[in-house]
Amino acid sequence: MKVTTAANQRKRVSGWSRKERHYVFLGLAFASPWIIGFLAFTVYPFFGSLYLSLTEYDLFSPPKWVGLQNYKLIFADDRFYKSLGNTFFMAFISVPITLAVSLLIAMMLNFKVKGINYYRTIFYLPSVIPIVASALLWTWMLNPDFGLVNMALRTLGLTDPAWLLDPRYTKPSLILMSLWGSGAGALIFLAALQGVPRQYYEAAQVDGANWWYRFWKITVPALSPIILFQLIMGLIGAFQIFTESYILAGGKVDGSGSLGGPEQSLLFYAVNLYQEAFVFLKMGYASALAWILFIIVLLITFILLKTSGRWVYYGGD
């Protein structure tokens, strides 16, 4: 009897029963690969980069503490503002355009016609092409003299911009390329569209609601959680655009030469950061850039999530 009491006592002290402790042990054991990786390759580097951002470090001599100097330098650097402006353009202009087109394609792929699966295959196909390969293809398609796009534009009697050579058109070139890959986003929208109860549309049709009304009052609200999700993922992706710019601007493998394209119009945040870190070996400065990026992404995500309550609807349950 006394033994049981002692055991109970112990149980109460830890607050957990034997069974609970057993499950915590098991849970931790099964989750341990992720926990170890998270600590070693996320948490440690996360704070490591905060520390490095307050130092001057070139990999060869030990980091030298400089306080907030890197941040001061960044806010006085034209390249920082240029890359931030370019990145904001992609995040707030390219991402919404691409999302809208994805949704449009998803609605097309939701048509109830024969052979729709073949269309789905075709529309998704460009998304599986490696960015390096598709960027090379588009460099050729957008060639101002011999490119397919300008040939088509000339045939139609429209202006034929120099695309990747003209700073005004380099970012539209990138948008064009990303639209070609919009099938991936379309498939996610399509899966969501198929989850919208048909009765909603039928009821609206009985009430005489037109297509436009049904789109805004049924489709968009029903899809709003997935729109929010894709918007956040798209914005985060836009802040990390690298490969497209690197290839389209003809960057060299050793990082030398022109990164950023004509008049730095393709100098994106991640490209600038890469160059500062791995070409100029300014690890402290680049870490500070990374932290500013982190704060911007965090702020945008936070604002989106906070304001999403007004336009995101979560099911009727």
Binding site: L28, G48, F111, P130, I188, G195, P225, I236, Y246, F278
Partner: protein
């Protein structure tokens, strides 16, 4: 008549867009089969006069293509093994084991998805430099053995749909958690694991920044970095560049055709993200 229009118009719209989406592929392959003179013709013709298959042979011999492909496939395989080992374990922990703290783990897993890679990149580079792993495949593969958040999320979604009765019965028979995981859960997870393997392959195959940062020795390059260097050295030879790009795209296209249903599945799993 109205009924017929309702069938024809969607087809016309779909067809128009399908042509727009397909044409760059046609252009890629046709360019890769042209002569240098034909490439610079204006207006260009779609089909080459004669198909220059030799472009492919020349593109393949201009750079160590086979070596780049082998390097790439090795990295892809190691990543698949890593993800298949760890992602389901973690997903199992946070969806099937009733322990306090699993919700915290899940929240952090999802939160790390929005963390820009650039924030950890530099200290990670320093760690790998100190470990002497730069110029090896280690920095490009080690992460897989800790489970990617996206895969953990995907498998968790899948596991939440598996009835608990299955493991309850085994538990009454005295089976351990590990045994249940290996004997009952893993076989059920097979289709979801195929999705993980597929995406893991695709991500490793198309990765450019990782190999660019970590692989200095050109003999160790992957196909993405190799192709980029090829563009630098053969910038004007579009036919060869397009031939090389076509070869690079082929494995991805094949994977897509054979694994289509798994790609679709990830789309529907993501819609459960609320």
């Amino acid at each position: 008549m109205a009924v017929r229009l309702r069938v024809i118009i969607p087809h016309l719209v779909l067809l128009l867009f399908a042509v727009i989406f397909l044409f760059p592929f046609v252009w890629l392959v046709m360019t890769s089969l042209k002569t240098p003179e034909e490439i610079l013709e204006f207006p260009p013709s779609i089909f080459p006069e004669t198909f220059q298959w030799s472009n492919y042979k020349e593109a393949l011999s201009a750079i160590p293509f086979t070596r780049y492909m082998m390097n790439t496939f090795l990295i892809c395989m190691v990543n698949i093994i890593g993800q298949l080992f760890s992602a389901p374990l973690v997903a199992y922990s946070i969806s099937r084991i009733p322990w306090k703290g699993r919700n915290i783990i899940f929240t952090i897993v999802v939160a790390t998805m929005i963390l820009p890679a650039q924030v950890q990149m530099i200290p990670q580079y320093i760690i790998f430099t100190k470990l002497g792993w730069v110029n090896t495949i280690m920095p490009l593969t080690i992460g897989a053995f800790f489970g990617a958040p996206f895969f953990i999320f995907l498998l968790r979604q899948f596991l939440l749909g598996v009835p608990t009765e299955l493991s309850e019965a085994a538990k009454i028979d005295g089976a351990s958690e590990l045994r249940i995981y290996v004997k009952i859960i893993m076989p059920i997870l097979k289709p979801a694991l195929a999705t993980v393997a597929l995406f893991s392959f695709v991500w490793s195959y198309v990765d450019f920044m990782g190999p660019l940062i970590y692989l200095n020795d050109s003999a160790k390059w992957t196909i993405t970095v190799g192709l980029q260097s090829f563009q630098q050295d053969h910038g004007a030879q579009w036919e060869k560049l397009m031939a090389a790009s076509t070869i690079m795209a082929i494995p991805m296209i094949l994977i897509y055709f054979f694994g289509q249903k798994y790609f679709m599945k990830s789309g529907s799993a993501l819609t459960g993200f609320k």
